[in-house]
Symmetry: C2
Subunit: 409 residues, 2 copies
């Protein structure tokens, strides 16, 4: 059965993400919405601000009355009141008349600009000198200048940052409708793996992947659901996978990189209803022996057991699937890569995409990416790493001082 599958290229694998449905939606309080993904477009039902607002402390005036004013030739204004914050001024002003106003205050009728207090001098309680001219609209925000009623202000798929949260607050949205966080089931396998609270016996190691993968799922905006360690027993593994599939939006089996367990993963998939294997091997290193199946409408991953391989595969392959089912818009999934200069030659095999762990070091004005070498079973190499660089399929290696782009970890 294994022989039937050909190793696929990364772009082909990521292309399968569109086969999976988006997570459902839910309404949550605005105060809990940071980092969540909007599931509707938002159109403003109001002008913001809905009154002309001063942006400075000073005097509301008719701009035209200030034209030509200088230190040597000030304009004179009569004061006819003070704008109380949060209230409609009870008066209007005309030519040569000014009203005291604070930042955020509402301009009185007749005023079309604000003179900063720094450019004035009070002669007495009712008269001021103005030393600079202002243009109409200066030092104020007009009605709807921030947002106009009917404007499309936010889009479905947009991630809520602090500023989007502020914009929704301005609109009076106490709740917001977002995509649910995808629940990702995590199963560790392998007869040599023990829970972290146990002292490993000879030949045993503790379960690392459940922890690294849970962290990665959280970073990706998902909710990890761990199912512990399953021994290499087909029946137990099948039951656990069926349980995880029923409780999660996506399932990852990890640690089963031994021949036996790999075959188990395929056997489990064969025994699950409505399962089809989409990928069995990716032309990527580390992480080639990755399996992706579709079970019902859910993605089911067989990740390599080596901790570095599993982390790299998560970052470059699984994460785009989580982004997709999270509803995040294509534009916002773009990963900013940091340009750096390679510190030494690296070799790479043609016909596969290599991911090299790197440490970033600032040298004078130049950011340098220093490759971290080490086997893909060594967690410490990932602890030392700040990021990954990609070496394409058709490249045999990269020379020292080549500009590279670093995916931050």
């Amino acid at each position: 059965m294994k022989e039937f599958f050909k190793v696929k290229e990364l772009s082909q694998v990521i292309g399968y993400s569109s086969e999976f449905p988006l997570a459902g939606t839910e309404e949550i309080p605005l105060v809990e919405s940071l980092g969540r993904i909007l599931s509707t477009d938002i159109v403003s039902d109001m002008d913001i601000p809905d009154f002309s607002r001063s942006t400075m402390d000073g005097y509301a005036v008719c701009a035209s009355s200030t034209f030509g004013a200088t230190e040597g030739n000030p304009a004179y204004f009569n004061l006819n009141g003070t704008v109380a914050m949060g209230e409609i001024p009870a008066f209007s002003i005309g030519a040569g008349v000014a009203a005291t106003i604070s930042t955020g205050g509402m301009l009185p009728d007749g005023a079309d600009a604000v003179v900063m207090v720094e450019h004035t001098e009070a002669l007495d309680d009712t008269t001021i000198e103005v030393y600079r001219s202002v243009a109409p609209g200066q030092h104020m925000v007009e009605i709807g200048e921030d947002i106009k009623k009917g404007d499309s202000i936010l889009s479905c798929g947009q991630k809520i940052r602090p500023q989007e949260s502020g914009l929704l607050a301005a609109m009076g949205k106490q709740t917001v409708t977002v995509y649910k966080k995808p629940v990702v089931g995590i199963i560790s396998t392998g007869d040599e793996i023990v829970p972290i609270q146990e002292i490993p016996g000879p030949g045993q190691i503790r379960d690392i992947n459940s922890y690294t993968l849970s962290g990665l799922v959280q970073q990706a905006g998902g909710v990890p659901l761990t199912y512990g360690i399953v021994r290499d027993n087909l029946n137990v593994l099948t039951r656990k996978c069926a349980l995880a599939l029923s409780q999660s939006d996506m399932v990852m089996i990890s640690g089963g990189s031994s021949v036996g367990t790999r075959d188990f993963t395929i056997s489990v998939l064969s025994s699950l209803p409505d399962a089809s294997i989409l990928v069995h091997g990716i032309s990527i290193s580390p992480g080639k022996p990755t399996i992706l199946a579709k079970v019902g409408n859910k993605a089911f991953w067989g990740l390599p057991g080596h901790v570095v391989s599993a982390m790299v595969i998560f970052n470059v392959v699984v994460r785009p699937f989580i982004d997709h089912i999270s509803g995040i818009s294509r534009k916002q999934t773009r990963v900013w890569k940091l340009p750096a200069i390679l510190s030494r030659n690296i070799s790479s095999a043609q016909g596969r995409t290599d991911y090299i762990r790197v440490r970033l070091v600032q040298r004078d004005n130049q950011l340098t990416a220093e490759p971290i070498l080490g086997k893909s079973g060594l967690i410490r190499t990932m602890v030392k790493a700040d990021g990954l660089i990609e070496v394409g399929m058709n490249i045999e290696g990269l020379d020292k001082d080549t500009p590279v782009e670093v995916i931050l970890l």
Copy 2:
């Protein structure tokens, strides 16, 4: 009193951060530790792995028995057993003898390398041909190759990413001692501000800053504690500030950008015990009228009321203080800036550091930073922005096509 204070430069202001004590520490479950800051160094009390482990499926051998093996001239091995996962092999091997082993299996005594199954052929149940030679140590991890007993593996001040979490799992740490998340009290002021659930009357606007600042505090790894809106009343504001100071590690008053409220902030500070004003104005735009006081051993901020100004000040001034009291190490506070090319000329005043909102656009192979213009009271300009660029004190402006570095928002 105001006149006494001189506007300070950004670097001077940030220098005050070291005057404030770090948050306390707490012990938390490892599964909840993502993003937290270690408050102790961690030294390994074990070798990882503590046995020689295969990293491939194949056969454990003495490497020397494979030397010279090729497809045309294979080496022959007698099989003397299969290594069971998680167990000590009950046999040892010598020259010309091999044992079947899976990835993660323990090498039997006498074996010092693993031959990949792909480079062998089974002739019968007890004999295999090997087509490639392996070096001692190949396709295996030696005892302590990942981590040696006594190694310093993680440092106080280090942020826990998924890989650090995995490393702690490997060490059997079910709990981890970290710095507490700093609690940051947030108070909105201004008679024109109403809670978001209210419909603003004429001259009123909803409280945006409580939401943007709460989001920023969360992004910075802190816990926001909001105290709602306080009217411009000195007694009420003083009581609220005293309450917030007693419940938080740091307090931010925002929205009080009117003359009255600004004076209130100074008056409140004067009435609080053990308060000293460190900063009253920063040579930065937007956000010049920022106040920083030390009350007891806590930082107390008077942030500008304009939403953009408050966000910029948070990102470039307040955030380093939160990083400091969070215990994050200096090395890890470095903000990676993304290089881009400026899309058009911008002007800037000398004598202050300007922060310009920019949108990032990929044009062919070039990342372009497009300045977003707009008053500092307009939240929508921040929604459009991907980041900020800094224009230094002594620069009058930047030309189109100048390389710039973007601080991501």
